[in-house]
Structures are given as structure tokens and as C-alpha cells.
Subunit: 660 residues, 2 copies
């Protein structure tokens, strides 16, 4: 990174609050200083959600500098007000405000998405975070439980939950919207950051909420609609909410996505970017970063001077710190320090998901009944090629995975071939019963489980999917495949659409491949059969997906260097194993190491053990399954892999120990 | 059964339709004849849902004798109207009407909940059924997919989906209610059988839908409210719906639960039964059956005479047929015919779930912070004892499993100990992501997975839970226990509430135990350690839960008789296995048979194989895992067990083959 990073230190916020000026002038300045800090934190992390951090910043400031001030709330923390964000994307903004009030240190603020640092989505292990979120739609229900508990225990303090607007495409919200008034919980307030934009399109273009104000009133809530970027309006609404003893209050806070930086504000940004909002997720490029921070810095400088603050020293940030905040990994061993810190691969790295998206586009031409379904992740899932070319065969469902999956069954009934897309962590778990119900009807449906596995590890455990194979493994008539390279992704996608007789799950790595294996000349994409990428004699490693195949290759190189002849198999078939192939593959090895980019429970390792036990070949070979133990670590890819002992160096060490 | 069963045969419905009288007089008579037949089918099956079969009967009749008549819809079935029920409880009523129009035969109608017969909830393998349902809230989404496909393929025909009213506590409905108008799908009509009652309480008492008419209007639907037990009103509303090309239509059909039999109608039945509606599920007792059928028979007789039909011969039903409609089981072998046909255990059979409910009640006294959560299954889950004694600690969530689970996290945050209840098939799958999210926060929550396993097999695959262990097995910090007897259920429930440090899942058999093991004198409820119920030398059987332990005992008896010394272990710990205990337990055996009341994927068998591989003891013992292969069979308990080769006789045969 060629640019310099710095933040407004905590001390400068104290100076602002100590000044004698009008409160709202001070709070507006603080909000913009926090915007500066949030952008810097995201820039340093290399990823994170800016658009909603900016839109909800004034809400955070109004809350943390108002009703949430600890000093006003007495000694017993159980009697304090509770606040958390249900959407969780806005957590860089929340961290910035938590930093400004001293709950998060200067140093912590710069640890966003790093191992041992601030999680990519809210996690109660971080200071000031009251609930885990990141997957949408759970917040009001959680707040309901808190409010019920407070009432039952006769505790004072109100429960505030911040939601998005697109988030109201998730059905769970309506369950809670219905039950909260039924239970008479007036100590709960929803604040909706209504910034009008979801991932990259307007809410009205994805699935309109229609007249949301009237809708919520019909659910029995008192509705207050305000300008959510005006701190005084937020304060007034909160005062009304805290004093409502009749109904729960729903505050519709109309905000601007990207608020505070002119070119990031959605009203300006969307027309400039062909109707798409570009600042929902991801770090800004250097140019955008400089423009954004310059605009904020200048405005802040003027405002600080008006407040009588002349010394405005910013705290410079070390951008190249390779510090690991946790010294021991998930296995209780020292974290390997030899692996380079890589936050993002630039250039022409192949993307498995890109190959998938391009193949879908090509198949659109060939297969007339192919319908692509999306749950507001079109860009991430690389569906936009298909969406733009075949808009009449692209079905946008909004953030409503259950509805999307059941809709697919209806499409399949009338002879269409639905390809259902979302992140694996959401699709496999939230729509699990719907996938099962569809499977019982036996019609062919393809599910693309994007973002499968540990990496990218920045977004944290709500997004990292290490249980998804286990969640679908017991379905009797579904084929689960994870391609190991972009080339294989094309082959697998074509096979799933054109050849596979059953429903099919494509588990896909979403990030760039650090390396991709060269297709052997005898390569065959044949159900149940893996591909030998190298032969050996001492130990056979079996892996799948581009992340683990890359690490496995590094490990195999190191092991070979140390004198252990190492075989490596790419095994894309996660729930089909050909008996004969497996017997032959294992025949001359004494050790089999299975690498699961998944929990060690319910992944490929379990499938292999079950099969090998049935074939009665476990006597001849020792099997070790390495998977992601515990919860997936948040951090850079290398940090997370090392933490779980799954980077090439750690793997080589672990395997060598076994062989010795 | 001492009473005689008979039905109105198909021919008599033809006679009615052939009479020259006014159409609605005929249809009203047909509806009551179908009510008679539905009650008889449920009585013969020994279980089934009557209340909503009766309330929605006039809707079924209006549809199948009106807009759904095949002869009016042309040759291409893709152009036909589609109708299905989202709630699915009402399927005995639907079957009765399908029978009356000749889609289901006289013989089939009497095969309700029998192997190879009519499923306990709608299944597309049965004639006339267009979608699988039984778990609530998916129907409008499926209808949306069908309507979208029809529009895309330029097919004519409308999509009708029948829902309940309590069903609108499920959030997925609101996802679809929001997206259908957004997509402009006016070829879709929802008919809500608004019978005002859910399992056994009024909807308004569980979670009120408030002014539902206005609510639905705000979602962008045209709403028509009618008397849903008046066929002419239903017909008129359907005509309006079919001709609406502007908005999708939502018909609120106000009905009476139990309609057609005076003492079963909810308005009368609820006050007579202490505020609870007793006819939602389950076959009526002999007295109620006789009263109900007598009332219907007399009214039908009068009406038939008015229609000029004098010969009203009813078709007598053989109540003791032990016929199996399918000759081969899931393993492709002949179904064992030796096992007795048992539909229900009478008398003082112990119930594991009863012990659970009584223990919760007792713990309510001991543990002040114990909160019991329910999703409208209080009676089935035996929560009513606690609910009645501690109403202020009983939290009714309605049919909204996701909201319930996330609510529990909020309760736990404020020091309460939530015990979350629903059927395993719903709780483990529909709320899977919420359980995961809660687990990441680390607060202790107890989940009771009721109805775990194959039995009872009558309700069909929406309710039979054979994937639930796999769905939670990869959670790092949850203990999963299935007690094997009512005595052990009490111990396990106490341990989970008072001793367990982590969150805990109690997997519970809901039906009566055919037999219960005698507690050995050295019994210990010790994490990871099973209990030897008998020692042996040749083969060790490991099982859990009362259903499989009963069959395992039968199998062990048979094997012993045939000269194979058989050990039997009760292993309630489904994801914790003590290393030392396992080594010792397996030490002197050559064969281990694991019985999974679950798919063979992801159950105890997989856990044991993983552990035994880690311990490197698979060389010394051959392991065979028997689980529920494929989808769970619908039928009587013995039919389903035999179909899957899991009854005592089949198990003994399968094990003996291995030993020989």
C-alpha cells in the first residue's frame, strides 16, 4: 500500500466533547471523525462494509453519546440499556463510535478483520458488542428475548436493535414483529437504518417493502419516521420510544447510504455507476480512499477549528504489522509465523466463482429452461453476466433464502431447471428444511453453495461456512461437488446442469485461487473418482477446493523436500465415493490424510471413513482427518489457516509428525 | 376395535351428482359425506388431523367440483389449475374429496398412514397431490414458483394454495407475501382456512395475527373475506381471483374448526374442554367416533333422500387388514411379516416425553431461572404441566421456530436458562442457523428435539426426523443426548438443566415405549459412557432411544436363541464418547453393530467410526452401522421399522448373516 493511514485518536474525541459549543455541532463533528476512522479501518483490513457504516453513523453517535452513556445508567449492568445491530454490516461504523467513547482502544480499532482483533461482523468477544449477528433477520427476535428477560426480572433499561431495510425481506423479522406486540414488550425499540439500498441495488428494485410504515403499524407497533442522519431527530425519537409504555416503537430512520462522502452517497453514486451502488462492501481503492478521507478531513478540520480545537494530530497507522494477537492456534500449538500475510490477491488470479458465473452464462444459451435464482448476492455469486443477458430467466428473491428455495420447487414442477444461489452459510442452514422438502419431491434443482469453507476469513463466523456439507450430507438423493480449480468449476457446473440426474450442490470457493492445479492428461470428471495430482509412496493427501488444494500442494512440496514421498488427490465428490477407485487409490499407501475445508465432523473425512469401513480396508491404511476445529477464526486467510493448523507449513509439520 | 367402520363409496357420490337437484344442495351433501369418510379414515389409521379436515372440507369441495374439474381444463395438464395445501394437516379431508371425484380409490382411502398407502401429510407420490407439505409456511413460496413458471412458459391455469391461519406465524409466509406482488404474479391465489384455532388453542391466544385483512392489503394483495363453509361464497371468490389480472388475491375463508359435527365445532368444543380444542390431531375415541358418524350419517341420509337417492349402501371396511402394500423393504429385501401390527400402545406404557415433561415441572420448583419456550406444541411436548404451574415462565412463541430460537439467546443473555421445544424435524432444520448463531455466543440453552427418529411413522416424512443429529453434530460446543427410557429421560433432563456446562440437545422419542430396559445396579449417567444392558461374546449391539433399544432387545433375544452370544449397550451420548470406556466396551468383541434411529450418515455410527479410527481400534473389531436408509417410510411403527429392516426380526437376520 503506497498511501499513508491515520486515525483520529481517542484523545481528540475527548477534546471535542470538552469544548463549550452546542452539543449537536460537536456530535456531528464526532460522526464525521468516526466516518474517517471507519473508512481507514476498512482500508487497512482490505475489506468491510462502508455504505451502511456511513448511513448508520449518526444513529450510533446519537445512541452512544446519548441514552447508552454508562455513567447515566447506574451500577448494575443488567439494568443498562442494550443496543446491538441486527444487520451487522455496519460494524466498522459501530467500532469507530465505540472507539471514540473509549470502549475500543486506538490499537484495537486498527485490528479489524485480523486474528484476535475486531470481527468482520459483530461478535460478543469484542468489547461493546451485545449480540452476534451478520446473518440477517435474527435481531428483533433476540431483542425480544432480552426485553422479555428484563421485564420478567424486573430490570430497567430498554432494548434497542438496529436493522437494515433490505433486511426486512427476511421472514424471521415478521415472526418477531408479530410476537413482540402480542407479548406487550414496550421496552423494545427497533431502529431501521432505511438507507434504501441493499448489496448494490435499491431495495425497491430487489423486493419492494411497499408502504412499510403502514405495514408495521398493522403489526401493532408505534411507528416514528425521522431523518436518520439528523442526530436531534434520532434523540427525540429515542426519547419517545423509551417513554412508550403502551406499544413497542419502530423508528424508521431515513438515511443515505454512504452518508458523509459526497461521491459515496447513494443518490449520487448509483447514477454514476450504471444503477449499481459500489460501496456496500469491500475496501475502497486508493483513489477513492484518498478522495473520501480528504473530503472528511477538510470538513472535520473546519469543524474542529469552529469548536476551538487547533491541535488536530492524527495517529499514524503501521500498515504492515504482521502481528498475531493470539499466540496459540486451535490445536493449542504456536501459530506458524512462516506463512506470508496475504490479505488480497490482485491481478489475474483465477476465481472459481468467476468460472461458475461464465459457465452459467454459456449454459443460458444452450439450456432454455435454466432459471437462475438469487438472494441479493448477484455480484458476489457472479450471476450478473446471466442476469444481464437473460433478465427474463433471472429470478431475484431478495434476502429471503427460504422463499427462494421453496420457489425453486415450484419452478421445477413445471419443467424448469432452477439454479439457486446464496452463501453456503445461509443457504445450507437457514433454508435447510426447505431443501429437504424439495428433495422429497425428487425434482432436479441445483444449489450453489458459495463461500464454502474457512476462507475468506475476514467476515467472521456468520459467513464462514464449515458446517454446510454436514447439513446436506444425510439427504438421500443429492450429489455434492466442490471443484478444485476454475477449470474444474466449469466442468462441474456443466455436468451438474446437463448430466447429473439428481439434484446437485456445487460448493464453491468465492475468493481468488492462490494457485490452481494443472489438469493431468488422464483427467476425467467421473462421479465418485478423484484425480491424482501427484503420486507418492509414503502418504496420500486427499483434498478438495482451491484453498485446501493450494495448501496441500505446499505441504506436499515440503514433505517431499524432507524425504517423504507424498501423493495428492483432488477429490471433488463430497458424498459419492467409487469403491474400486478408492481401493486402488489407497492401495499402496500406509497413510491417508484427508483435508476437510469444513468441520472434521460431517465432511469428506467422515464419508471416507464410512466407505472404507464398509469396504473393510481400514486395516491396511491409517486415516487422519484434518478439519476446521472449533469455530472458524476471523482474520486474514493466512492467519485463519495458520490458526487452524491448515496452512501448508502447519500441515507439513502435522503430517511429518504422524509419519515419524 | 369393537366398532364397525364403513365409508360412502365412490358410486354414491356419482349418484348425488347425477341427481337433478340444485347444485349447492348436492355439494353440501357431498361435503358431509366426505366428512364422514375422513373421520372413518382417521379412525382406521389411528391418527390424523380431523379439525382442519372438517373446516376446509367445503373449500376442497368447491375447488374439486368447480374450477379444478379436469374435463374443463383441456388436454395439456401443464395448462391445468394447480391446487395444494400448504398446511397439509387437512389432507384426510382432501383425500376424502379426491376419493369422491374418483382420483383416489375406495381401497386407497382406507390406506391412510399405512405403508404404501396415503401419507399422513401431502406427498406427491399419492394421486392428486401436487406438492409435499406438512411443515408449515412453505406453500405460498412454492405456489409463487409455479405461478412464475406458468407465466414464463405462457401456460394457462391458476395456482391455488390453501393455508391455515396459525400458519401465518411462520415468517417464510411474509417473504412470499412480499415477493409475489413485487413480481406481479396475479395467477396465484391464497385461500386461508381461517378456522381460528391452532393445535389446541385459539390463534389469538397463541400469537394474534391482529387485523389480518388490513395487514395483507399492505403487502399488496387484493383481499376477499368470505364464509369459508359456504360453497357459493367460495366459488364466487375463486371466480374473482381467476379473473384478477392486476393483483394476486388472498381469500380469507372464515371457517369453523371441526365443522359439520356439532360437538367437534370449535365454538362449542373449546368451552367444553377447559379452553382447549381436543380434535386437532389424533383419532377420536370410540364414543366420539360413534357420535360424530351418527350425526353425519343421519344428516346425510335426510339429504340424500331429498336428492332422490334411496339406496345408500355403505362400503364396510376390514379393520384388521395386515396387508403390506409394498413387498420389498428399503434394502430391497422382502418385508418381514412376522412382527405384529401395532398401531397404538394402550394402558400404562411409559412415555419418555412424559418423564421429560414431569421433570421440567419438578425443575421449575428448583431452578428459578428456568424458562420453557414452546412453538405451539405444548401438549405433544408435554409442556402443559409447566405451562399451567408457571405461566409467567412459559413463553409461547407460536409456530415460529426461528423467532423462538433467537429469542432464547436474548433470554440467556440476561441470566435465564431457556428450554426450547419443538419437533426435531422443524427445530433442527428450520432454525438451524439460529441455533448456530446462539451457539457462537456461548450462553447455555437447552433444546428439546421431540419426535426424533423414525417413529411414529404415520405423519410421514415432514415430521419423521432422521437428519437432526447430522444437522447439529458439527456445532463445537453442544452436548447431544437421547435417553433410552423414561427413567433415563428424567436423569438426562436433570443433568442437562443442572449439571451440563454447555448448551444441550435432548433428543426425545415422543410415542410410548414398547418396553423399557431395567436400570442395571451399576448404572451411571456419565458423559460419553454407555450402559451395558447385557453382556455377550460374539457381537455387541449399540443403540439409543426407546424405539431402537426395544428392537435391539428383541434382536438380541433372537440371536441368543440362535446361539450367538450378544451384548447390548444403551448409548445415550450421541456426540461424546469416552475413549477409555469405548476401548473397554469393544475389547472382547469381534463385531460391533450400531443402530442409528437416524440416517446412517451423521448419526452415532459416524461418531463412533471417527472415534475408533482416532483410537486406532478398528483393526480389532468389525463395525456395521444400520440406519434409516433413504426417506423414512410412512406407515404403522412396525411397517416402517420392517420396511427399513430395523425391527427386531429383521435386525436379528441381518446380524446373523454378518456373524455367519
Amino acid at each position: 500500500m503506497s498511501i499513508k493511514l491515520n486515525i483520529y485518536p481517542k484523545s481528540l474525541f475527548d477534546d471535542v466533547m470538552a469544548s463549550k459549543c452546542e452539543k449537536h455541532s460537536k456530535l456531528r463533528t464526532i460522526a464525521d471523525m468516526c466516518r474517517y476512522n471507519a473508512i481507514t479501518a476498512v482500508k487497512k483490513a482490505g475489506s468491510g462494509h462502508l455504505g451502511s457504516s456511513m448511513s448508520s453513523m449518526d444513529i450510533f453517535v446519537a445512541l452512544y453519546y446519548g441514552v447508552l452513556r454508562k455513567t447515566d445508567q447506574g451500577a448494575n449492568p443488567d439494568n443498562h440499556h442494550v443496543f446491538f445491530s441486527s444487520k451487522g454490516h455496519d460494524v466498522p461504523g459501530q467500532y469507530a463510535v465505540l472507539h471514540s467513547v473509549g470502549i475500543i482502544s486506538d490499537q484495537q480499532l486498527m485490528s479489524l478483520r485480523r486474528l484476535g482483533g475486531l470481527h468482520g461482523h459483530p461478535d460478543t468477544s469484542n468489547p461493546g458488542i451485545e449480540a452476534n449477528s451478520g446473518s440477517l433477520g435474527m435481531g428483533i427476535s433476540k431483542a425480544k428475548g432480552m426485553a422479555w428477560a428484563k421485564r420478567y426480572r424486573d430490570l430497567s433499561g430498554h432494548v434497542f436493535v438496529l436493522t437494515g431495510d433490505g433486511e426486512f425481506q427476511e421472514g424471521q423479522n415478521y415472526e418477531a414483529l408479530q410476537s413482540v406486540p402480542h407479548l406487550g414488550l414496550s421496552n423494545l425499540t427497533v431502529i431501521m437504518d432505511s438507507n434504501k439500498v441493499q448489496s448494490d441495488k435499491e431495495v425497491n428494485a430487489i423486493i419492494s417493502l411497499r408502504n412499510f410504515r403502514d405495514k408495521i403499524k398493522q403489526f401493532g407497533w408505534m411507528v416514528i419516521e425521522i431523518d436518520g442522519n439528523e442526530i436531534s431527530e434520532i434523540e427525540n425519537a429515542i426519547t419517545i420510544a423509551v417513554n412508550s409504555h403502551d406499544k413497542p416503537v419502530f423508528i424508521i430512520a431515513n438515511t443515505i447510504k454512504g452518508k458523509g462522502v459526497a461521491f459515496m452517497e447513494h443518490i449520487r453514486a448509483i447514477p454514476l455507476n450504471n444503477g449499481l451502488y459500489p460501496f456496500h462492501a469491500g475496501a475502497p481503492d486508493d483513489d477513492s480512499f484518498i478522495r473520501a478521507t480528504n473530503e472528511l478531513y477538510e470538513r472535520n478540520q473546519n469543524n474542529l477549528i469552529k469548536l476551538g480545537i487547533k491541535h488536530q494530530l492524527l495517529l499514524p497507522i503501521d500498515q504492515n504489522d504482521a502481528e498475531n494477537h493470539i499466540q496459540l492456534n486451535a490445536l493449542g500449538e504456536p501459530v506458524s509465523q512462516t506463512a506470508p500475510q496475504i490479505t488480497k490477491i490482485k491481478g489475474k488470479a483465477p476465481y472459481i466463482v468467476e468460472a461458475y458465473g461464465q459457465t452459467l452464462l454459456a449454459l443460458g444459451e444452450e439450456i432454455e429452461n435454466l432459471i437462475v435464482l438469487d438472494a441479493d448476492l448477484s455480484a458476489d455469486c457472479r450471476l450478473r453476466y446471466f442476469e444481464n443477458k437473460y433478465p427474463d430467466r433471472f429470478l431475484e428473491n431478495g434476502i429471503a433464502e427460504q422463499d427462494m428455495v421453496s420457489t425453486a420447487a415450484g419452478l421445477a414442477k413445471f419443467g424448469l431447471l432452477p439454479v439457486v444461489n446464496s452463501f453456503a452459510s445461509f443457504l445450507a442452514s437457514r433454508a435447510n428444511e426447505q431443501i429437504y422438502n424439495n428433495a422429497t419431491e425428487g425434482k432436479k434443482i441445483i444449489y450453489a453453495f458459495h463461500y464454502g469453507g474457512l476462507i475468506p476469513a475476514g467476515p467472521g463466523k456468520s459467513h464462514q461456512s464449515i458446517r454446510d456439507i454436514s447439513l446436506v450430507a444425510a439427504l438421500p438423493n443429492i450429489t455434492i461437488i466442490q471443484p478444485g480449480s476454475s477449470e474444474e468449476a466449469e466442468i462441474a457446473t456443466r455436468w451438474a446442469v446437463k448430466d447429473c440426474k439428481t439434484s446437485c450442490i456445487l460448493r464453491l470457493n468465492i475468493g481468488p485461487s492462490l494457485s490452481e492445479f494443472k489438469m493431468p492428461s488422464d483427467y476425467l470428471f467421473d462421479p465418485g473418482k478423484g484425480t491424482f495430482l501427484r503420486e507418492g509412496e509414503d502418504v496420500l493427501i486427499m483434498a478438495y477446493g482451491s484453498v485446501m488444494l493450494h495448501e496441500a500442494t505446499l505441504a506436499a512440496d515440503l514433505l517431499t523436500k524432507n524425504g517423504f514421498s507424498t501423493g495428492l488427490v483432488n477429490m471433488p465428490w463430497l458424498n459419492q465415493i467409487d469403491d474400486h477407485w478408492l481401493r486402488v487409490a489407497c492401495h499402496c499407501y500406509n497413510y491417508l490424510i484427508v483435508l476437510d475445508d469444513h468441520s472434521p465432523i460431517g465432511g469428506l473425512g467422515d464419508q471416507l471413513l464410512r466407505k472404507m469401513n464398509q469396504l473393510n480396508i481400514l486395516e491396511d491404511i491409517r486415516v487422519h482427518v484434518f478439519g476446521i476445529e472449533g469455530y472458524p477464526a476471523c482474520g486474514t486467510p493466512q492467519e485463519a489457516l495458520a490458526y487452524h493448523g491448515m496452512d501448508g507449513v502447519s500441515l507439513a509439520n502435522r503430517i511429518q509428525k504422524i509419519l515419524e
